[in-house]
């Protein structure tokens, strides 16, 4: 049994720098962070503060220059490509500002993409995708092309896609950034309700103060350091 008190995500002296020698730029300058299971966290900060870099490192999309990211005490910085892609495929959900749906695929096909990558059979992934679409109230749009949906609907498909692999952590990068405020609010409500229902750890990178306030905890990043 996993210890429920044990942090699901932990960082130790996390450093990330880009470029070499004179062009060297330090994006993160030692981040120590622990995130519990089921917690919702907002990472805020100005553009260029390093908040996106932090999210990428937490999600295993990038490797730290120094320090470590731990998933339940397992250092993902030491994982090989196969292990880390497998981790993202099975334990992580992503929601992006630009939705990143494939325009020529149907809503259903977009939703089950992570399961298709995982090699789940066509029958099973369709069944799971329908369940996920039902939870975001888009089951009736299953066979529509992603292109034919409104912005809000697209983001709901993206949420369904993020939920489909029953993830431990969902990373949301400016999830309301491309939506009008009313739609944004609805998306956020949906996201939080699903997060609570499934006890998922939610990590949101955002500029949006209102959105950040809804989270259990706010981490403010400035110049590559946590200042609050």
């Amino acid at each position: 049994m996993k210890n429920p008190d044990q942090p699901i995500l932990k960082t130790a002296k996390l450093h990330k720098s880009y470029g070499k020698k004179t062009n060297r730029f330090e994006a993160l300058k030692g981040i120590d962070l622990a995130i519990s299971r089921g917690e919702s966290i907002a990472i805020i900060g100005k553009s260029g503060s390093g908040k996106s870099t932090l999210m990428h490192l937490l999600a295993g999309l990038d490797k730290p220059t120094n320090g470590n990211v731990y998933w339940s005490d397992q250092s993902i910085s030491r994982m090989n490509e196969k292990q880390i892609t497998n981790l993202r495929n099975t334990k992580v959900g992503f929601i992006f500002q630009q939705f990143f749906l494939q325009p020529t695929l149907t809503v259903l096909e977009n939703t089950y993409l992570p399961l298709k990558i995982a090699g789940i059979s066509s029958h099973n992934r369709k069944k799971l995708a329908k369940e996920a679409l039902k939870s975001v109230d888009l089951l009736d749009k299953s066979d529509n092309l992603a292109n034919d949906l409104s912005g809000g609907q697209r983001q709901r498909v993206a949420i369904a896609r993020a939920l489909i692999n029953n993830p431990e952590v969902i990373f949301a990068d400016e999830p309301t950034g491309n939506l009008d405020s009313e739609t944004g609010k609805q998306i956020i409500e949906l996201l939080f309700s699903l997060q609570k229902k499934n006890n998922i750890t939610l990590i949101i990178v955002t500029h949006d103060e209102d959105l950040a306030k809804k989270c259990d905890r706010i981490i403010k990043i400035s110049d590559g350091k946590i200042i609050k």
Binding site: N86, R88, V92, Q102, T104, I117, S121
Partner: protein
């Protein structure tokens, strides 16, 4: 992803840019179509040649002559003068030949050849015989080439059969002589007696009677008439005054002799100091220039394919560029580097596959339309056989080859796609 998912994803991806995919495949089709046509043509021509040759030679016959053993020739194969072998035979042929000087074989050679293990019979071959004319009833007189018929002749005749031992005056006429002998069909010509005039060295003509026992197949190039051995011998005796000297010996093996056995018989005969020409040698003589031509044409097809390959590389590089964000997403969602690479390789192989299959089908369609026309016009005499043939193995080979070329062409774009950094790729606009 599952293998089937890779294949279906690749097809879906190709359909996203229909025009571009179509043009890329079209370029490939030009190459595979050319290759399929070259194959169809050279394979067809080969079997056409073989069909034609079947009227001339029989697989179990070996033509034996003098002149190849090292003790008979000097530098560059120039034969030595051998007084006891050289003979001058006087004959009057259709081209006015009066004298034929040649190396001759005799009964002792015939005995030696018969003694070769595997040779079941050997007959003198009087290539020197030339008749004046052949005539049926009061119809016009026609010139005609003649040669000896030997037992076990295996040519499939249009009608009738080769003369048996008892049919000592039998003749098998060329297909083209049917009307000349007053018949309307091959079977109608059977049993007719024709007159053949032979002139002796003393300029005395003599008429021989020959009964038509068979008609040669309708091949484009017609060999001479086949005369029963006894009739042939008596004509030669009359014309040249001797049957004990002859230019060649026809050595016969079993009718079911294999190619390997033919080769070992050839070696055995050569070891006795003779020159031996097998059926395979005749075929090879015809096929060699054919091989050269088809190799040349294949080269042109290869150039077309090479150009199409560059098209595939270009198309896929563009696809990788256009779908950079998508690649980033797939990677973020947990697709491995090699998975991404594989998607693009399957796309490349698919272009090759479609290019191959369309090219081959188009070529087959051309054959379907052109074969009956060719059979009626230029390449008559091959019956129901087709000039353009599409052996399944070769056609499958072209398709597989096209897929392999596609794969090779796709390697660079596919590796490039696999290497993309997910964050950079997602930021790409």
């Amino acid at each position: 992803m599952r293998t089937l998912d890779y294949i279906s994803t690749a097809q879906t991806n190709l359909l996203r840019t229909k025009v571009r995919t179509f043009l890329t495949i079209l370029a490939f089709v030009i190459g595979t179509f050319t290759l399929a046509m070259v194959t169809a043509f050279s394979q067809g021509l080969r079997s056409y040649v073989n069909t034609q040759l079947s009227a001339y030679g029989q697989p179990n016959a070996i033509i034996v002559s003098l002149g190849s053993a090292s003790n008979q020739t000097g530098p560059n194969g120039i034969p030595y003068y051998q007084p006891n072998r050289q003979s001058t035979i006087t004959a009057s042929g259709p081209r006015g030949d009066k004298k034929t000087a040649s190396y001759t074989l005799n009964q002792s050679d015939l005995t030696k050849i018969k003694a070769v293990p595997g040779i079941i019979a050997a007959y003198p071959d009087y290539v020197t015989l030339a008749i004046d004319y052949a005539q049926y009833g009061n119809l016009p007189k026609y010139i005609m080439d003649v040669q000896g018929a030997y037992p076990t002749e295996s040519i499939a005749l249009a009608a009738g059969s080769f003369p048996t031992i008892s049919q000592s005056t039998g003749i098998v006429i060329p297909y083209t002589y049917i009307q000349a002998f007053g018949a309307n069909s091959a079977s109608q010509a059977l049993g007719r007696t024709i007159n053949i005039q032979v002139t002796s060295s003393a300029n005395q003509p003599k008429i021989y009677k020959a009964v038509i026992t068979g008609v040669l197949p309708n091949t484009a190039h017609q060999p001479g008439a086949y005369l029963a051995n006894q009739l042939m011998s008596s004509m030669v005796q009359y014309q040249t005054g001797t049957t004990s000297q002859f230019t060649n010996i026809i050595a016969l093996a079993n009718t079911n002799v294999t190619k390997a056995q033919r080769l070992s018989l050839k070696t055995a005969i050569q070891a006795k100091g003779y020159r031996a020409t097998t059926y395979d040698d005749i075929i090879a003589n015809f096929n060699q220039p054919l091989s050269v031509v088809s190799a040349g044409l294949t080269g042109f097809a290869a150039i077309a394919l090479l150009a199409a390959t560059i098209g595939i590389i270009n198309t896929l590089l563009m696809a990788v560029l256009e779908r950079t964000q998508e690649i980033g997403l797939l990677k973020a969602l947990g697709m491995r580097r090699k998975g991404i690479t594989f998607i693009y390789l399957v796309e490349a192989a698919s272009i090759g596959f479609w290019g191959g299959i369309i090219g081959v089908l188009l070529a087959a369609l051309v054959g379907y339309v052109a074969n009956p026309i060719l059979n009626r016009t230029i390449f008559t005499g091959i019956g129901s056989a087709h000039l353009l043939t599409y052996p399944l193995v070769y056609m499958a080979g072209i398709i597989v080859g096209a897929m392999i070329i596609g794969l090779l062409a796709g390697t660079l774009p596919a590796i490039r796609a696999g290497k993309l950094d997910p964050i950079e790729a997602l930021r790409h606009e």
